[in-house]
Symmetry: C2
């Protein structure tokens, strides 16, 4: 890797932490200069705008968050256990990029704002949905998950519950809400999602 590439990568990783904590509007070029120790010209040599830095920083932060949530899930053979592992990783493991979930942060700031950042968040959400839907669809094919389960709705339920609980837990600075969401989702996966010979009926 050339010296220029290394500098570029360092700008992205420092910017990821800055933007993820303070948001796009809350982070100035002066903040970015301070975080990276570079002059404005040193940053603009690699990026054309603050928006370009923020876009790449978002993708970097999102990849780091996804890696933490997928930690050691490849070796889990059963699809329900893999969904449970994902939920547990989300609650227990922190990404190396501080500031909480990049998707949640960027979605909330950009839903009425910057269209480039909003599109970035939307792509991340869809990646996440298809990752979870894929696990569920595979589980239905292998007979590990009830046929009537909607892979899409289950993915939305998991994402909604975890992101909402993360908001509460970060605001309160204690993980009670995340642990409650985890317990609820795992109970639901065992009761309503995992294939069983005699499925209990609620109706």
């Amino acid at each position: 890797m050339s010296k220029g590439d290394k500098t570029r990568q360092r700008i992205v990783s420092e910017a990821a932490a800055l933007f993820n904590k303070r948001g796009f509007a809350g982070s100035s070029m002066a903040d970015l200069m301070q975080a990276t120790g570079l002059e404005k010209g040193g940053i603009y040599r690699h990026f054309s705008s603050k928006e370009e830095v923020a876009s790449e920083a978002f993708d970097y932060a999102w990849q780091a968050a996804t890696d933490a949530r997928m930690h050691e899930l490849d070796s889990v053979p059963n699809s329900v256990d893999r969904l449970k592992g994902f939920i547990t990783n989300f609650v227990k493991r922190r990404s190396p990029v501080p500031g909480g979930c990049p998707l949640l942060n960027t979605a909330i700031e950009a839903d009425d704002g910057n269209p480039v950042m909003r599109e970035r968040a939307r792509t991340a959400l869809r990646q996440w949905q298809s990752l979870l839907s894929g696990i569920t669809a595979g589980g239905i094919r292998k007979g590990e998950i009830q046929k009537g389960v909607s892979a899409k709705k289950l993915a939305m339920l998991i994402i909604s519950s975890l992101e909402g609980a993360l908001m509460i837990s970060r605001l309160e600075r204690r993980d009670e809400a995340l642990r409650a969401a985890q317990a609820h989702l795992i109970d639901y996966l065992e009761a309503e999602v995992r294939w069983r010979k005699s499925q209990p009926s609620r109706s």
Copy 2:
């Protein structure tokens, strides 16, 4: 109401829409001057700082959101039906202050940031939790809700699911995630919360 009081109230309501859409860092005094049609001096005659405007604007937006969510719930006698009504209002009714949920917006922006705004969001979260917990606790006393239900955990579950689903729905600009959360929560309330002579057991 004096002319001064009216001006003050107009600043708060215009600021509520501005801050709720663009965030605290994303709204400048120039934006606020444009939204209110006032000079800087006209705003500073009523408020000492942008933070003071934002704090009052948050409380205004939160009150409007709570009113929309509580719409016509006083006349619902059964506590489970009141929780269901709250969820339905959250999904179907929009507050007159645009920009989504003020708590979610402010919590996400302030969790690593402005301590005054963070405290405001925390107070709102606790009000919301005790509103829902109060309904549940009343339902347990009246024999409408299962004794084993944790009023606190149920409140956290409802808030987490709705806020996370709102994030997705606002990002996607369609209410699929909110409707999925509503269906899941109502199913859960009927199956696990509402008092029944023979409670189904999952274990």
